[in-house]
């Protein structure tokens, strides 16, 4: 049985890296959890001026909501075009390629562009609005791809039934395909938010400052954010780990919560969409 | 002509999850003959032959009970080497599935895996198998061509050659002609008759006329149960079971 023994050895060798991955994850998790002791409820509501995280948390939320507000609609509409309208040809392939390339642009380059274009050229300055636009650039490919997939999974027969009744293409798509794809679209937006929630490089010089007096009163004011604050405190201020552990933990929890909800939503809606289970 | 039992199936039950696909199947398959397994779609024909080379267990959630004896040994016994079993029991699939490799490499795949031959011996095995599958003359000058350059019927004969290369004793065929045109089908049916002189051949088919044409014995399956089994002439001309009669006369299926 040397063949079977050889196979077992090979599988053990292949399995070791998987084990290492799992162990790495647990290690990271455990490290983060050691800081749980530093968290106190007050930190969430206290102003940063008094050692709390209030403005950072709200600032992060402001940034994320605004970015989603920009990238969401544009992304979904783009996906609809790509799935329902785009003719197959050179132009469509270029658009497709561009989306992939946009996804691959390093975040620092997006930050550079955001600074020179949104902050300076469009005159927004270091502001919440500039942050929205810059982060939206990073969210866009994720929303487009996710929505595309959701739209493609809806059986064409729904739309065709509407068309056969005399509806225009847009009416057919918006009243049948889009609602059916809605859960998938929502999931992709959440995934996009999760991706940019912890983003630092893109907001480094486009929208954030270390400390603000209260919350920004207009989108043209700069904002505080968890990721930015964590970064600057460690790198520029040399704050010891104990003091910033709280920020790291809150950021981690927000991102993990978002990712988990996206995963759970996907599972939940898979059950509610019977046509996904019907495989030709 | 000595016709012994090659395969003895006893109380075979197969479940996929909660789905009870095969219900208490028992019958004996004769050696060096063609046995046809027929029945309407979904009756469990494919599951039955896949039980003989233990390919069902590759599917998640599959459970098997009962025994299948080949030459007196229960193939579901723990001590059986399943890879050796699959060498002895060859399989040809419904849709021809040659590897994306050359014709030569397709046929040589089996012997290479089982380390039974190399070099010139391998060349001989490839030629012998292609001859047995009635494909040699058509491909002998282009053995290193891509297998996908062959027609559908040729590809299926290639798959047969590939199965023959490891010297099986039993050949399982799952609707081997359903993806082929009538001319190719005729060639393969003739091949099956020839092969049965040396091998025990089991053919799943939903084509009644084909079953009647090529098989020595026929089993009729319906909803996972074995309804009737006997030599082909009797089953078709004088069925014992009413269901069999209905199926043969086209009342359903």
């Amino acid at each position: 049985m040397s063949d079977q023994a050889e196979e077992r050895v090979i599988f053990a060798i292949l399995g070791a890296p998987t084990l290492i991955c799992m162990l790495t994850f647990s290690w990271i998790l455990s490290l983060l959890l050691t800081g749980i002791g530093t968290l106190r409820w007050e930190l969430f509501t206290l102003s940063a001026l008094r050692g709390g995280m209030f403005e950072m948390i709200v600032g992060t939320i402001y940034l994320l909501l605004g970015a989603a507000g920009v990238a969401g609609p544009i992304g979904v509409l783009a996906a609809i075009y790509l799935v329902e309208y785009a003719p197959s040809g050179r132009l469509t392939r270029i658009i497709d390629q561009a989306i992939n390339n946009l996804a691959g642009v390093p975040s620092i380059v997006i930050g550079l562009f955001g600074y020179t274009f949104f902050c300076r050229h469009l005159g927004l300055g270091v502001s919440l609005a500039a942050g929205w636009l810059t982060l939206a650039l990073m969210m866009l490919p994720i929303v487009i791809r996710g929505s595309e997939e959701a739209l493609r999974m809806v059986p064409a027969s729904f739309k065709e039934a509407a068309l056969a009744l005399g509806a225009t293409r847009w009416k057919a798509v918006s009243s049948t395909t889009l609602p059916a794809a809605a859960p998938g679209v929502v999931t992709s937006v959440i995934l996009g938010i999760a991706r940019v929630a912890g983003e630092t490089a893109a907001i480094l010089f486009t929208s954030c400052v270390l400390i603000t007096r209260g919350l920004p009163k207009s989108p043209l004011e700069p904002v505080m954010a968890l990721s930015y604050n964590l970064f600057v405190q460690i790198v520029a201020l040399g704050t010891p780990a104990q003091r910033v552990f709280g920020i790291a933990l809150v950021l981690f929890m927000i991102v993990t919560l978002l990712s988990l909800s996206a995963i759970l939503l996907r599972i939940h809606y898979r059950r509610r969409q019977p046509w996904l289970r019907m495989k030709g | 002509m000595v016709n012994e039992t090659k395969i003895d199936i006893r109380n075979l039950n197969v479940w996929f999850g909660d789905n009870h696909v095969l219900k208490d199947i028992s019958f004996k398959i004769r050696k060096n003959a063609v046995t046809a397994i027929m029945g309407p779609s979904g009756c469990g024909k494919t599951t039955l032959i896949r039980a003989i080379n233990r390919m069902n267990e590759l599917i998640y959630g599959c459970r098997t009970s009962g025994e299948i004896y080949i030459d007196g040994h229960n193939i579901y016994d723990g001590s059986i080497n399943v890879y050796e079993l699959r060498r002895k029991v060859g399989m040809v699939f419904q849709k021809p599935n040659p590897f994306p490799k050359s014709i030569y490499e397709n046929v040589a795949f089996g012997p290479r895996i089982h380390k039974t031959a190399s070099g010139r011996e391998l060349d001989e095995i490839v030629e012998r198998s292609l001859r047995e599958a009635a494909l040699w003359d058509e491909v002998k000058d282009r053995l290193h061509d891509n297998a996908f350059n062959l027609s559908g019927g040729q590809q299926q004969r290639l798959c047969i050659a590939r199965a023959l290369a490891v010297r099986p004793e039993i050949i399982l065929m799952d609707e081997p002609c359903s993806a082929l045109d009538p001319a190719a089908t005729a060639k393969i049916e003739a091949l099956i008759r020839r092969l049965s002189k040396r091998y025990t051949v089991i053919v799943v088919t939903h084509n009644l006329q084909q079953a009647a044409r090529i098989s020595d014995f026929t089993a009729f399956l319906y909803m996972g149960k074995l309804i009737e089994y006997g030599d082909t002439k009797s089953v078709f001309e004088n069925p014992h079971n009413e269901l069999t009669e209905k199926y043969i006369t086209g009342k359903f299926g």
Binding site: F11, I20, I74, I94, G111, L204 | I113
Partner: protein, 307 residues
């Protein structure tokens, strides 16, 4: 008579125009990405033009990067980037490919989804948190293990990057492996091949190009990583001596840009040089991603592909 038929035709015309308008709006949304990429190229070139004019090729080849002396030779920075990325790939590629094979072919079905989710969660951790872990836990470990003064080294950065690149490699490789049609696997198994023989002789040869693509995408991801490397790489703009000394600090390109943009005066040479570096980064990742896309699009498994 003509007026009436004209008026009758109006609603239809109106609907037609409306459809055209809708399609136009959708098209604009879709081409956003193209427009943005072009704008990006334009503006980064514009801001970097001063540096290209004044420094020329020295921006890439120059061996000294000293802001105080207005010297902007980017060679040590690019060397630092490549060093850190190669270290990361050396670790994560073997690990990642083995893991993807294991998950797709060996792991029992029930465990597949949970483990894939864990890897997905690894991918979702923000880079600043990886940096935080690197600074707080990994760097001190490396420092004490090798007896160094500081744990901010190329090695530390490579390790952190390896963890960050892993999910990309596992994900893309895994997709390629799953894309191998099951009919080939069934044929091999029916011939009596063992699971490993099937993987080795059928699955892997057909997945080669997909794995190559995953490595390229991993490279693209790693070379663009900013915050995590910045926090642990040491940020000293010098090629280490000897050049393969991973225990020395390095200053990757992304880290330089992030660190110095805050202080660079708008319009100064420093400002422009940073944009110049940004342009090089942009082009590099663009090329790498495009090649990877082409490889994936060609598809590993096409009927008629000779193995």
């Amino acid at each position: 008579m003509e007026t009436r038929s004209f008026l009758k035709g109006l609603p239809k015309l109106f609907m037609h125009l409306k459809s055209q308008l809708i399609e136009f709006v959708l098209f604009i949304c879709a081409s956003f990405s193209v427009v943005i990429l072009l704008l990006m190229l334009l503006f980064v070139i514009k801001e970097g033009s001063l540096a290209f004019a004044r420094l020329g090729v020295q921006l890439i080849l120059g061996k000294r990067w000293e802001t105080n002396s207005d010297l902007y030779g980017g060679f040590p920075l690019m060397y630092g980037s490549l060093m850190v990325v190669s270290g990361a790939l050396l670790i994560s590629v073997p690990l990642g490919i083995c893991t993807s094979i294991f998950i797709a072919e060996v792991l029992p079905f029930q465990l597949r989804d949970p483990i894939k989710s864990v890897i997905e969660l690894l991918a979702s951790i923000p880079s600043v948190i990886y940096g935080f872990i690197g600074v707080t836990f990994l760097a001190p470990l490396i420092a004490s293990f090798f007896g160094l003064h500081s744990g901010a080294t190329a090695l530390t950065a490579s390790l952190i990057l390896a963890i960050m690149a892993l999910p990309t490699i596992v994900g893309v490789s895994g997709e390629t492996i799953s894309a191998v049609p099951s009919e080939y696997k069934e044929a091999a198994l029916a011939l009596g091949a063992s699971k490993w023989q099937t993987i080795r002789n059928v699955v892997l040869p057909l997945s080669k190009s997909g794995m190559l693509a995953s490595v390229m995408l991993g490279f693209g991801r790693a070379i663009g990583e900013t915050v995590a490397v910045l926090m642990v790489a040491g940020n000293v703009a010098m090629v280490p001596t000897p050049p393969w000394n991973y225990l020395a600090p390095v200053y990757p390109v992304t880290a330089v840009i992030a660190m110095q943009m805050g202080e660079a005066a708008v319009g100064s040479l420093e400002y422009s040089a940073l944009f110049g570096l940004g342009l090089i980064l942009f082009i590099t990742t663009f090329v790498v991603n495009t090649i990877a896309d082409v490889i994936v699009r060609r598809g590993p498994v096409k009927r008629g592909v000779q193995l």
